[in-house]
């Protein structure tokens, strides 16, 4: 075989190998999610069947109907959990973004002593494991009587989200050239006006994605929520998921259905955010 032909063969083999590798990787990534959706649509008999039934014979929405039909009819208070999750996540996201915007702007635009120390310090508060933080919070909240309230969880989640929000927003403000705001100020804007009319709109998409990221953190959080909530007053969806586990049995189908309900908002929001998220993380951290 001459060199040309063998080189062509190698290229061809490499590209086939590449396609196969890519396909396998994507399968591994997507399979668990698809499996959950599939299970939520199948009757329990088929899920438990031995030997396993691979091709679904029968699909229906019974699990979803049962879930939303309320307590006592095989359902759990999903609507209440959903409402709690939504209220807590949205409120704490809004507060965290306002505070994070102030902090991020300070890091992006001003020089002050001990800047990197402060930044690291803020980040370190995020490293405290949720379960470790839940011990003193549980104690303090019990004293203040704010266990099992929306307020308690919102407060905790604001603190949880501030460090990362600052990191992201700092990155987005760095991408906005300083000269623009300075030009606006020369043209007669106050610093305040320059911020709102020039810098804020330019960093807007980035800030929106920081908000979505904060929202997802609250939406998915479990370690704190499982200790600081007690009842339908404030239980969030991740904690509600445990309602499907009894001592020895688990209602797999019901859990899968709830999982799908939980994942849909997260899925939608992540798709919106994906492009900006990476930009904020890398520009803030690399070009610093």
């Amino acid at each position: 075989m001459d060199d040309n032909a063998s080189a062509r063969l190698t290229t061809r083999l490499l590209s086939i190998g590449h396609a196969v590798g890519l396909f396998l990787a994507m399968t591994v990534i997507c399979l668990p999610g698809i499996w959950i959706i599939l299970t939520s649509l199948r009757p329990p008999v088929e899920i438990m069947a031995k030997p396993p039934v691979w091709i679904p014979q029968e699909m229906n929405l019974d699990a979803y109907v049962a879930m939303f039909s309320g307590v006592g009819k095989g359902g759990i208070p999903v609507i209440e959990y959903f409402r709690n999750s939504l209220i807590i996540s949205v409120t704490s996201t809004v507060i965290a973004i306002v505070i994070g915007m102030a902090g991020g702007y300070a890091f992006a635009r001003f020089r002050f002593s001990g800047k990197s120390g402060w930044f690291l310090g803020l980040m370190l508060t995020r490293t405290v494991p949720g379960i470790a933080l839940s011990l003193p919070l549980f104690f303090v909240y019990a004293r203040l009587g704010i266990i099992d309230t929306h307020f308690g969880l919102i407060l905790a989640y604001v603190a949880l989200n501030i460090p990362f929000t600052i990191w992201l927003i700092d990155g987005f403000f760095r991408q906005v050239p300083k000269d623009l705001a300075e030009a606006a100020q020369i043209d007669g804007c106050t610093r305040w006006q320059a911020f709102w009319q020039v810098e804020f709109p330019l960093a807007g998409p980035g800030i929106a994605s920081a908000a979505i990221f904060a929202f997802l953190t609250c939406w998915n959080e479990f370690a704190l929520a499982s200790q600081l909530t007690r009842s339908v007053n404030s239980k969030t969806l991740p904690v509600g998921l445990l309602d499907y586990t009894a001592e020895f049995t688990i209602d797999w189908r019901g859990m899968c259905a709830l999982a799908v309900v939980m994942i849909i908002p997260a899925l939608t929001l992540t798709f919106i955010v994906q492009k900006h998220l990476v930009g904020g993380l890398t520009s803030g951290a690399v070009k610093g």
């Binding site: 590449h18 990534i29 030997p51 405290v128 011990l135 999982a259 798709f271």
Partner: protein
Amino acid sequence: MKAPRLSAPVLLLTPAVIVLAAVVLVPLALSLYSSFTSFRLTRPASFFNVIWFDNYLSILTNWDFWVAFGRTVLLLTVALNLEMLLGLGLAMLVERATRGQRVLRTLMMFPMMFSPILVGFQFKFMFNDNVGVVNNALQSLGLTDAAIPWLIDGTLAFIAISIAEIWSSTSVFAILILAGLLAMPKEPIEAARVDGCTPWQTFRYVTWPFVMPFAYIAMTIRSLDVARAYDIVKIMTDGGPAGRTELLWTLVGRTAYGDARMGMANAMAYVSILLSIAFTYYFFRKLAAARTQIGAEW
């Protein structure tokens, strides 16, 4: 006399500092204090019973604790390294794809939107010895007849947990490394090829140094949130059976809420906080070093 004018950054950072102090620092100070007491939830008076370092001393001699500690470090080491390698591989696969890169990138983010608790539950279902898809597949393919006790045997459970952890977090690395690969100028690679570098040499001495800071960003982000593994383990095995998959965090939870020994749990929690801080600090330093190293080119 005029009040001293506060500078802008101080004013801007004040709200963040106040909230973090109120919700994180003050409670942590409280838990530091209670780690020096024999505080039990069931006996509130014991909150004032200071026993100094007794809790820490009994941790030092507590074999279960050190096993859990070692297992946590092992899990983090295994998971972070594999996530990094797989993330790098995945990023390079996607970067080389000529068509459908947007779709691939979106698919790649899929695991990121799963709440850790969902990841745990989903893998608990898949690794279930009776109805799980893994055992079903192995049996249907005729590879084994027995139901492999994935979550009951200690070693297998550790592997299952690592797989769940790696599945959920590889995409963080893949996405950031991919961002690095895409941001990289193409000239150095071409120059290296013209100069006769092998593909491996091109990767090792041209691509990797450039992508490294991005990998460290991913590492830092991950290390901020390593305790997420708690959710996964909590739901997959809850530290069981008989403590064979106990991690530091599940042990803290069990000591605090199961046994109501708050003082002891707080002492353990402090060890886990120090562990997290050590990880984060280490990667922050690495990030800073990598940044100055390539600072000249940027």
